[in-house]
């Protein structure tokens, strides 16, 4: 079961013309948060809210669907808050996306070449050239 590129661009119009590439087949095994936390995390569905029997979430971080909880998660993984999405050699950046109420929706991780990689739920992983494409798509 999977979505093709056209379906992706219908749901996320900001991807149109962005040169995004699908880089993995559909997979239920991990989600965007796990993938943003590192390419080795392909066996976990990381999410704080809902039935704790269904998901992974570090016990040191509140199981709250808030940006603060997600920031605490990435702080636990040695990330700190930065000013922008510009590529800085030697640093790996993660972007968190939330809705108008501040409820987290998604995360993406910057690759060493400046592109961003992201896993869409149980769909595919894709790489895109700029954060603007995601912002146009995810932040509304």
């Amino acid at each position: 079961m999977g979505m093709n590129g056209n379906h992706l661009e219908t749901l996320f119009p900001g991807l149109r013309g962005s040169g995004h590439q699908i880089t993995s087949p559909p997979c239920d095994g991990y989600n965007c948060i796990a993938w943003a936390a590192g390419p080795a995390n392909t066996h976990g569905w990381w999410w704080p809210f809902g039935d704790p029997a269904k998901t992974y979430w570090p016990p040191q971080v509140p199981r709250e669907e808030t940006l603060d909880a997600f920031r605490q998660l990435f702080a636990l993984l040695q990330y700190s808050v930065c000013d922008d999405d510009a590529l800085e050699p030697g640093y790996e950046k993660v972007a968190l996306f939330a809705d108008d109420l501040g409820v987290p929706l998604h995360a993406a991780r910057q690759l060493p070449d400046g592109r961003w990689t992201s896993k869409l739920g149980a769909w595919k992983t894709s790489n895109i050239g700029s954060m603007t494409s995601w912002e146009q798509s995810m932040v509304r």
């Binding site: 095994g29 989600n31 809902g50 269904k54 929706l105």
Partner: protein, 112 residues
């Protein structure tokens, strides 16, 4: 996110088999919320809930899918069977959860 109303596509022929109904609901579920990471958005979706309400009849199809690759059906199986075979240490690890459910199903006489 823009999604098509599920109700428009959920009408089905009365001759639909269990598998056809399951696959139709799966397709709706994935198309409408499959891109989300939120467990509440995924688990509370009407198509997912309708799969759960199909009860024991759908379990062999869920297990068949789990044998192919890890699937989020590990979230539906506890609601249907009321069992909880996943060790606490494996919670959230969809691959290990899938394996635990397959072991449990074999031990409990399920065939798929």
């Amino acid at each position: 996110m823009a999604t098509a109303p599920a109700e428009q596509t959920r009408d089905k022929p009365t001759t639909e088999t269990v598998e056809e109904r399951f696959r139709r609901l799966e397709a709706i579920w994935m198309a409408e919320v499959g891109h989300h990471s939120s467990t509440t958005k995924l688990s509370n979706h009407p198509a997912f809930q309708e799969i759960v309400r199909m009860g024991q009849a759908v379990v062999p199809f869920l297990l068949r899918d789990l044998e192919i690759r890890p699937r989020l059906w590990v979230w539906a199986l506890p609601e249907i069977t009321k069992a909880d075979p996943v060790p606490v240490s494996d919670r959230g690890n969809i691959a290990k959860m899938s394996e635990a459910w397959l072991r449990w199903a074999r031990a409990n006489g399920y065939e798929w």
